[in-house]
Structure formats: structure tokens, C-alpha cells
């Protein structure tokens, strides 16, 4: 059996992917993408966890041998910023889409374009 943390992270990824595959509204699809990214970040952090250890800030009694793996946390920091950047850009594309077609429903957009 896999750990409950992995289970939660994978579930978030799958929920996000479901929204991307099934939803018709562009905003909902983008929310799905964000959920997926959160799931991935959660997975990355939980891979770096080591049972019984604390955060990798080496002061107040935390030595090199009782801190968790710092690398995944550093990677997640980068991944979050990248996610923010993608979302911002996607939202501006959605603004253009709404200005041109007056709707955010992907099926209607396809029909309008002909």
C-alpha cells in the first residue's frame, strides 16, 4: 500500500486532470491545471520527508542529522513560481478570448469560429 500522503497528492493530480479533460469552461480548465500543479508539488515535498525529522533550518538544536531533505523544498519553490507564471499568462489569453468571442465555453468558441 502507498502512503496516505502519496495517495492525497495523486488524487489531487487526477482531480485536476479530470477537470481539464471534462470541463467546458476555460476558467474551470485552468483551475484544473492549478489543482494538478498543487498535487505535483505536494508529491515532491512528501518524497523529501524523512520520518521524525524537522525543517532544514539549522538553528535551535536542529543539526545536519535531524533535518529533512532540503532539495525538494527548494524545487517546489521554483515550481510554484512557474505555475503562477503560466496561470497569469493563461488568464490573459482567456481575456482576449472573451473579448473576441464573448464566451469562455470551448464548444461555443469552436462553433463561432466555424
Amino acid at each position: 500500500m502507498i502512503s496516505v500522503y502519496y495517495f492525497g497528492a495523486i488524487s489531487l493530480v487526477l482531480i485536476g486532470l479530470y477537470a481539464v479533460l471534462v470541463k467546458k469552461n476555460v476558467l474551470k480548465i485552468l483551475i484544473g491545471l492549478s489543482i494538478m500543479e498543487s498535487g505535483v508539488n505536494l508529491l515532491l515535498v512528501s518524497v523529501g520527508y524523512i520520518a521524525g525529522r524537522s525543517a532544514p533550518i539549522l538553528s535551535e538544536g536542529v543539526g545536519p542529522n535531524n533535518a529533512v531533505d532540503p532539495i525538494p523544498q527548494a524545487l517546489v519553490l521554483t515550481a510554484i513560481v512557474i505555475g503562477v507564471a503560466t496561470t497569469a499568462l493563461a488568464l490573459s489569453a482567456a481575456i482576449i478570448l472573451y473579448e473576441k468571442y464573448g464566451t469562455l465555453n470551448i464548444e461555443e468558441i469552436r462553433r463561432l469560429r466555424g
Partner: protein
């Protein structure tokens, strides 16, 4: 000069892009001229790196912050990276000249920044020696590509860009999950060390991780079924951007995919991943060729043709043999030249005549004879006619495919090539044998670039030896993983994972 100065390949475009807001008051022409200047400088740096690597025969390892790998991030400028960084810079220079001549929708300063950063992203993807850094550069490339796809601000452009973003977002999430699995079982992110330790990996973890990474990169590398965004994006993007997409963005994705694939070749489940990639590649070729046949818009048609060629490259690289990798790299070089020529020529026609549907190309032989001539050379080369460059690489790929035992793949690709010949001949026919028109003046700088590329096509076609030797060295860089590991000065570490 010290090899560490090769980090200018990253630093120069970056600092120049940050500088643009300060000079945007100087006007559109000045900013575009600045783009030409910076890409020229970048080409000079890349040429220096290329020259150093190919004369000494040793790769340049750039260590950021003086940390030895795997503690710090290294840039690995081997034979492959040196060659393709030069191609990236040279193509960027050509598109910069094109943008200078053509009208760019405002705001031109933002366009210049994004072009520089696209060049930076592709350079970094090709040069980096760290798998997470590869992810960061991949995101730089793809986020810039999203913005440039939507740059024309039409409804179609925004739609194409959104499609690209959604697929790209799924792809990057998959890539990151794959990376998590590999990091989780090896405890390192350095590519040389991953290659060193790959043999000890749990086969299931390796298989899942590697397949996820391949899926993630397949969005950038335009492989079926994750290439649905590509034709729309090529069509909606500004002309110069389409050139960059086809000439180096897709190459960077392909390279990253193949590099990671070969680094992990000691993994026990490796061959199942190879067959997955071969199936994707062959499907890409077949689907794209048949889609190209139906197009009325020349830019879109060439986009489909480009996708099918990319599938062919992926096929060659996924064969898992030395001959296949060499041929694939050779085809990458040839494809970059030919597609740069075709997209630049078509873009130039689009700028001059205001459209790129097949009707606009009628009588082009009389209206813009030089452009039509170079486009003809490009089309003939793309079909794979002897004495043009693509013939040599295509034949090598097919031979390598048969040697590796994938006769069915080769047969399907040959069938698709016939389809390709049909639509290119239709295109050439439309240019020379139909329609009438007044002669239109062709600018000197664009004519020179088009003629240079056409000359390159023919020179490589007649004397393929030099280009082939470059391709062999670059292919060896990818295929010979033992040499790669030896070249990276890994710091010995003691830990639980080792």
C-alpha cells in the same frame, strides 16, 4: 579565454532582455535593431564555443557558483550542445533581421524581450547538465512560446495559445512527477550521476518515471498525440516565431528527450520505453503527412510537414543504435536549415502580399522570383530528392531503421513520403505554372539570408561529408554515455543513496 566564459551564452540574452525596458523610449526601429545586435553577439559567443569544442575535442563544463556537480548545476557544452547552440543563435539572428524588415504589431519592445528569452530557453535546454534545471529552461521556452503564439492578439491566436498552455501544463506536471520518482529513488538531480546510478534503480520506478518524462517532453517535441497544439500555433503565431518554433524550439525538446532516454539506458525496462517512443514517432509521421495534404494555407501545410519530419527524427533517435542516433542528429541539422528557409520564405511572402493561402502563391515565380526560387529549393529538399541535403539524412535514417529491425516503421514512413511529395509538387506548380502578376521588389537583407540558406541546402546536398562528420561527433556525444559520465567532474559523495 577561460571556458567558464561560456556562461555568457545564458547571461548575455538574459541581461539584454532585462535592459529593453530602459531603452524602449528610443522607438520601434531602435529596439528591433537592438535585437539584431544582441543576436549577432550571441552568435559570436556560440561560434567561439563551437570552435573551442571542436578543435580541442573536449566539452566545456560550466560550473555555476564554482560548485562541482552534483552539488551545483553544470552546463555541459559537448559536441552536440556546441553545434546546436550555434544553430539556435544563427537562426535567432536571421529571424531578428526578418523582424527588422517586417511589420511587428505593437508593443515591439515586448516582442524583442520575448524573442531573446525564447533563444535563451532553447540554449539552456540544450546546454544544461541538471535535470531540474532542464525543467526550468523548458518552462522558460514554453512560457515564452505561449506568449509569442498569442502575440497577434486575434481570437485564433488566443485559442491556439490556450490549447498549447493546457497541453503544456499537463506535460510539465507529468515531467515533474517523473522527475520526483527519479529523484526519490536516486537522491540526485545531476544527469551524469543519474546515468551512473541508473542501473541500480527499481525497474518499475524507472519505467514509470522515464515514460512520464517522455510524455512531458513530447509536448515540446511535437509528438503524437500531444502535438494537437502545434499546427494552430504555427499558423497563428507571427512569421518569425514560426521559424523559431520549427528550427530550434522543437529540436530542444527532442534533444532533451533523447538525452534523458540514453542516460538511463542501463535501466532494465529501457526497451519497453523505446518501443513506446517508436510507436509515437511513426504515428506522428503518418498523421501529420495526411493532415498536410488537406491544407489550403501554405504556412499550415509546412507546419504539418515540419511535424512529420520531427516524427522521423524521433524515430531515428529512438532506434537505440549508434547509426540511428547519428542519422537523427544529421536530420536535425538539415531540418533546421530547410524549415528555416521555408518558413522565412513563406513569411516574407506573407509580409509582402498580406496572406499565405495557396492563392497568394500563384504566379510567385513572376512576382518574387528570388523568393520563389529559394522556396522551390527548400520544397525539393524537403521531399528528399538526391543532391539536396535531406536526401542524405533521410536515407540514413531508413537504413538504420531496417538494420534495427523496424521494417514496418520504415515502410509506413516511405508511404507517408509519397504523400509529402504530392503536396510539395502541388505547391511548386502553383508558384511557377499558374497565375500572373506584377514584379514586387525584394529587400536585399532578406534575399541574402534566403540565398544563404538555399546555398547551404545545396552544398550539404552535394558535399555531405563535412556535415555528416559533425553529426557523427554530435551523435556520439548523445550515444556514448560512458564518455559523458567521464567528462563531468563529479564530486564523490557518501550517502544512503550511493
Amino acid at each position: 579565454m577561460n571556458g567558464q566564459y561560456a556562461s555568457l551564452l545564458i547571461a548575455l540574452p538574459l541581461i539584454s532582455a532585462f535592459f529593453v525596458p530602459l531603452i524602449k523610449g528610443a522607438g520601434e526601429k531602435a529596439v528591433k535593431g537592438y535585437l539584431v545586435l544582441i543576436t549577432t553577439l550571441q552568435t559570436a559567443v556560440a561560434a567561439w564555443v563551437f570552435q573551442t569544442v571542436y578543435t580541442t575535442g573536449k566539452p566545456i563544463i560550466v560550473m555555476a557558483g564554482a560548485w562541482k556537480p552534483p552539488v551545483g548545476i553544470d552546463l555541459y557544452l559537448g559536441h552536440f550542445a556546441a553545434l546546436f547552440v550555434l544553430i539556435v543563435a544563427a537562426v535567432s539572428f536571421m529571424t531578428a533581421v526578418f523582424s527588422y524588415v517586417a511589420d511587428i504589431k505593437p508593443p515591439a519592445d515586448k516582442y524583442v524581450m520575448l524573442s531573446l528569452l525564447l533563444m535563451l530557453g532553447a540554449t539552456g535546454m540544450i546546454a544544461t547538465g541538471d535535470i531540474f534545471n532542464l525543467f526550468v529552461f523548458m518552462e522558460i521556452t514554453s512560457i515564452t512560446a505561449y506568449a509569442l503564439t498569442a502575440y497577434n492578439k486575434t481570437g485564433e491566436a488566443a485559442e491556439a495559445s490556450l490549447k498549447y498552455m493546457i497541453l503544456g501544463g499537463i506535460g510539465s506536471s507529468f515531467f515533474l512527477i517523473g522527475l520526483t520518482l527519479i529523484y526519490g529513488s536516486l537522491g540526485t538531480l545531476n544527469m551524469a550521476q543519474i546515468a551512473q546510478l541508473a542501473g541500480s534503480m527499481n525497474p518499475t520506478v524507472a519505467q514509470v518515471g522515464l515514460s512520464l518524462i517522455i510524455f512531458g517532453l513530447a509536448v515540446e517535441a511535437e509528438l503524437f498525440p500531444l502535438n494537437a497544439w502545434a499546427p494552430d500555433a504555427y499558423q497563428a503565431a507571427p512569421y518569425a516565431v514560426a521559424v523559431m518554433f520549427s528550427a530550434f524550439v522543437v529540436k530542444a525538446g527532442l534533444y532533451a528527450m533523447v538525452r534523458l532516454l540514453y542516460l538511463m539506458q542501463t535501466v532494465k525496462s529501457w526497451h519497453s520505453v523505446l518501443s513506446l517512443l517508436i510507436a509515437m514517432a511513426v504515428l506522428t509521421v503518418v498523421v501529420a503527412e495526411f493532415a498536410a495534404l488537406r491544407q489550403r494555407d501554405v504556412k499550415r501545410m509546412i507546419a504539418y510537414s515540419s511535424i512529420s519530419q520531427v516524427g522521423l527524427i524521433a524515430f531515428a533517435l529512438a532506434l537505440g543504435t549508434r547509426a540511428g542516433v547519428d542519422a537523427g542528429v544529421f536530420h536535425m541539422i538539415n531540418h533546421a536549415i530547410v524549415k528555416a528557409l521555408l518558413f522565412l520564405g513563406v513569411g516574407y511572402v506573407g509580409v509582402k502580399l498580406g496572406g499565405t493561402s495557396i492563392e497568394d502563391f500563384r504566379g510567385l515565380g513572376r512576382r518574387m522570383p528570388l523568393t520563389a526560387f529559394t522556396l522551390t529549393i527548400g520544397s525539393l529538399a524537403a521531399v528528399g530528392i538526391p543532391l539536396f541535403n535531406i536526401f542524405w539524412s533521410k536515407i540514413r535514417i531508413l537504413v538504420a531503421g531496417i538494420e534495427a529491425g523496424y521494417t514496418w516503421g520504415v515502410a509506413l514512413i516511405l508511404g507517408a513520403s509519397v504523400v509529402e511529395a504530392v503536396y510539395y509538387i502541388r505547391f511548386i506548380h502553383a508558384m511557377w505554372f499558374t497565375g500572373e502578376g506584377e514584379r514586387i521588389g525584394e529587400g536585399i537583407s532578406m534575399s541574402l539570408i534566403l540565398l544563404f540558406l538555399a546555398a547551404l541546402v545545396i552544398v550539404i546536398g552535394v558535399y555531405p561529408q563535412y556535415a555528416w562528420s559533425l553529426a557523427q561527433k554530435a551523435g556520439n556525444d548523445i550515444f556514448n554515455v560512458g564518455q559523458y559520465i567521464k567528462n563531468v567532474p563529479l564530486m564523490p559523495l557518501t550517502g544512503v543513496g550511493a
